[in-house]
């Protein structure tokens, strides 16, 4: 099982995403933004960071990269694609996901251990969760406020395409507490929080049991591996 991680100029969490894929049991494949080649991977992760400095709009310049043409094609033909934070922003800029992400309502970057509720456990990336399950994974962003028109929001809610929702605190003013959404088919998922930072005991968020021991994020990666094994 090979999962590609695309590095754009300014990507930051690409190595972390690769580590998470490895810990989940698949082979991470490093992909370069400037190529038109997905190297035959089975799934894709667009990692977090500040591609092109997040100038213009977050993810906007990266969404024009050569590899994005391939990503869009693969996503439309059903390949599982996960966009994390900056990756989520790219997916909205590429119109693979609806809505947009804007400056946090409080105006500052925020890094915190974030409570989330998994609303849809049927997507390619959340199959290992139970619907309604509450998890904690790190969140870190300056422009994570999810916005969409009223009709788009209604459609996303009605079609069960809100994948995860913030619980406890809404850290950035996202409408309907939305932390992540999917496309209609459920293969493309965008998340503001960072599951790849909650995959290894000792380096994740604090839990009631022990500091930095949270590993709730690994399930996003094991989910997609399982889904691909089933469909293989």
């Amino acid at each position: 099982m090979r999962i590609g991680v695309v590095t754009f100029p300014g990507s930051l969490d690409d190595r972390d995403a690769a580590r998470a894929i490895r810990l989940a049991g698949a082979e991470p494949v490093a992909l370069w933004h400037g190529e038109h080649d997905l190297h035959g991977v089975d799934a894709l992760v667009l990692p977090g960071g500040f591609s092109y400095g997040d100038y213009l709009r977050c993810g906007a310049i990266a969404s024009l990269s050569p590899i994005m043409a391939e990503v869009i094609g693969a996503a439309n033909s059903g390949m599982p694609v996960l966009g994390i934070c900056n990756g989520f922003q790219m997916l909205t800029e590429a119109h693979l996901l609806e809505g947009g992400l804007i400056r946090n309502d409080h105006g500052s970057f925020i890094c915190r251990d974030q409570g989330l509720r998994v609303e849809n456990a049927l997507t390619d990336w959340t199959g290992g969760f139970a619907a309604g399950q509450e998890i904690t994974i790190p969140l870190k962003n300056g422009e994570g406020g999810f916005i969409a028109s009223a009709e788009t929001l209604e459609r996303l809610e009605g079609e069960d395409r809100v994948v995860v929702r913030y619980v406890g605190v809404n850290p950035n003013g996202s409408l309907n507490d939305i932390a992540g959404i999917s496309n209609a088919r459920g293969n493309v998922v965008g998340l503001m929080p960072h599951p790849e930072h909650a995959v290894e005991p000792g380096f994740g968020p604090d839990t009631a049991d022990a500091m930095r021991s949270g590993t709730d994020g690994i399930t996003f990666f094991t989910s997609v591996i399982e889904r691909m094994l089933v469909s293989a």
Binding site: P9, G10, L12, D13, R15, D16, R19, G34, G49, F50, Y52, G53, D54, Y55, S108, F109, I110, C111, R112, P138, K140, G142, H194, E196, H197, E200, G202, F203, A210, M211, R212
Partner: protein, 607 residues
């Protein structure tokens, strides 16, 4: 963007030949911060008057900031008060861009703390941001991958109307630059005190890791090797001094309004980091020097001084953001996110391929020579011809007057025992609440929540622990620990002991995590060295630190001196920020601060 490098209309350069033929020309050395004595010394070194370009270089390189002319005499102790044990793990000591320590298993760690105080008062956001950018470039120039940052901050009175501007600007600047570089922020300090009102302290620290074989020193050796400038284009940033030169020399154009502030571009720096690491990995460079204060003046003269020959540069090959810059301005510009490399001719094509891959603009400026001279041409005419060591190494050294402060005894005599000691519950309660509500004891998470502590996935300790810890090796769990501390009020009372207390606190904060302290870096923030009482505080501080390091047997690997921190003639408290670095065999065995489990016993250790 297309390169427009036309000859500036008012940039008719003052050539060496012209300098020889016009020995009596008056030069604005005082406006550039040089004393009459220093100017005379430059004339004597050169055997003629300096060209305006040479004057620009000497003035910035002989500034207190670059030359350490008031502190050099004292800092020598750090190299002298050493035991063999202190040298054991020291791969690179003071004097290089950053010190390097062997931490075992073939790994090395490099770290340094540096001030960006004055720029952060003028424009807090950009000042603090570029402070982070500058220290990170020092780390890259050693061949290391930067893996963490920290920030030690001092602000004025929290109730002063100007403090919010500075605090929020500085914190968001550090947050913006550090987060965008993808470096976890693993700790720091925040302190409010009126003495820092007109002069906040912004000390930024960065740590990098490297394999032993990847260690690089920035020096220009090997005649024929190419000198390459890469990264951002050169603009008119931070070159107030050069506009004085330009206006004095070429009155018809008038002085240009050049901003003193620099705008940082963390994205450009992130790309530069990855580009430099690929250049090192592919063995395409001999050495890389970062451009910080004094820009090209500093990089060329330092690279040449640290090498064994000379250097020839064609300054008009520098890619410009602003085509109206004069030669002097280009020499002094402090534009951020630039690096200078020395590359062998055979590897130049490979080098250029890597910078092209990362979309990093690059220009070959010249080459290493065997002349022993640093020669700089501007459109075919020689405008600089100096012995680089006279610019970068053998600058003036001062033995400034030192005086025991007139107020010191009275300050010490006025001890806490003179304060009233309330015993009634109501007053005690009131005082306790006042303490809890004081900004210096308050929860700093509103700051630390703006910093990414997760990126890279190796952060083993960070806020709220008293030290930050990073895993170096994913297999073995080898890691480093780092803490910074300083207490300006203790140092005001007794700078010798105050410095040792800062050292001891940082040392303890590292040791209690389970790590072994192995080295320190320091940032010495003081008032004006021309004030003998400040100079006394400084000398005591360095004595205290050097003696403390000898007692603890850990070396000083590098650091930074920041003088002239004062409002009017009121200096800040002496504030030596000490960073102690430790090593831990396996970060899984770390000991975090705070109660971990119910039922554990509590002990109080020490005296």
């Amino acid at each position: 963007m297309t390169a427009v490098t036309t000859t500036p209309s008012r940039g008719i350069a003052d050539t060496v030949a012209h300098a020889i033929s016009t020995p009596e020309k008056e030069q604005p050395f005082d406006a550039l911060g040089l004393t009459p004595g220093e100017y005379a010394e430059i004339r004597q070194i050169l055997g003629r008057r300096p060209t305006s370009g040479e004057l620009a270089m000497y003035s910035v390189m002989w500034s207190e900031h670059c030359s350490y002319k008031s502190s050099k005499k004292y800092l020598r102790q750090f190299g002298e008060k050493v035991s063999p044990a202190m040298k054991k793990n020291l791969m690179v000591g003071m004097g290089e861009n950053a010190g390097v320590l062997d931490v075992g298993e073939g790994w090395a760690v490099t770290f340094k703390i540096e001030s960006h105080n004055h720029p952060s008062y003028i424009e807090p956001f950009q000042g603090a941001a570029t402070g982070v950018g500058g220290i990170v470039r020092d780390i890259i120039s050693m061949g290391a991958r930067p893996v963490a940052v920290m920030d030690a901050l001092r602000f004025g009175d929290i109730d002063d109307p100007d403090t919010a501007r500075v605090v929020h600007g500085v914190v968001s600047g550090i947050s913006f630059y550090g987060n965008c570089l993808g470096l976890p922020n693993i700790g720091g300090e925040t302190w409010f005190d009126r003495v820092y009102q007109g002069n906040p302290l912004v000390n930024a620290l960065s740590v990098g890791v490297l394999r032993h074989e990847d260690l690089h020193l920035a020096n220009a050796t090997g005649a024929g090797n190419q000198v390459v400038l890469f990264g951002a284009r050169t603009g008119g940033d931070g070159i107030g001094g050069a506009s004085i030169l330009a206006s004095d020399t070429f009155s018809e154009g008038g002085p240009t309004k050049r901003p003193a502030v620099q705008v940082g571009d963390p994205f450009a720096e992130k790309v530069l980091i990855e580009c430099c690491l690929e250049l090192y990995r592919e063995k395409l460079v001999e050495g890389i020097q970062d451009l910080g204060a004094a820009g090209i003046s500093c990089a060329t003269s330092e690279l040449a001084s640290n090498g064994d020959g000379g250097m020839f540069i064609e300054l008009d090959k520098v890619l410009l953001r602003d085509p109206t810059l004069t030669a002097e301005e280009i020499l002094m510009s402090e534009s951020q996110e630039r690096m200078m490399a020395v590359v062998t001719p055979e590897k130049l094509a490979g080098f250029l391929a890597v910078t092209a891959k990362w979309d990093v603009e690059t220009s070959v400026l010249g080459e290493v020579t065997d002349t022993g001279r640093l020669v700089i041409d501007w459109h075919g005419e020689e405008i600089v011809n100096v012995d680089p060591r006279t610019v970068a190494v053998d600058g003036p050294v001062y033995d400034r007057p030192v005086a025991y402060p007139a107020w010191q005894d009275a300050l010490q005599a006025d001890s806490a025992s003179a304060l009233p000691r309330p015993t009634d519950a109501a007053t005690l309660r009131e005082q306790f609440l006042a303490l809890l509500g004081s900004p210096n004891l308050a929860d700093p998470s509103w700051i630390t929540d703006q910093y990414d502590r997760y990126v890279m996935g190796n952060t083993a300790l960070s806020f709220p622990d008293d030290a930050g810890m990073i895993r170096i090796d994913e297999e073995s769990g080898l890691g480093f620990v780092i803490a910074t501390d300083a207490n300006g009020r203790y140092c005001q009372l007794d700078p010798y002991r105050g410095a040792q207390l800062a050292l001891a606190e940082a040392h303890r904060n590292v040791a209690v995590t389970g790590a072994v302290p192995v080295g320190i870096s320091d940032c010495l923030n003081f008032g004006s060295p021309e004030n003998p009482e400040v100079m006394w505080q400084f000398s005591q501080t360095v004595d205290g630190l050097a003696d403390g390091c000898l007692a603890l047997e850990i070396p000083v690997t590098g650091g930074n001196v920041s003088f002239y921190n004062q409002t009017g003639d009121q200096p800040i408290h002496p504030t030596p920020v000490v960073a102690v670095l430790g090593v831990i065999d396996d970060v899984a065995r770390r000991v975090p601060s705070g109660w971990q489990d119910d039922g554990h016993n509590i002990y109080l250790l020490g005296v």
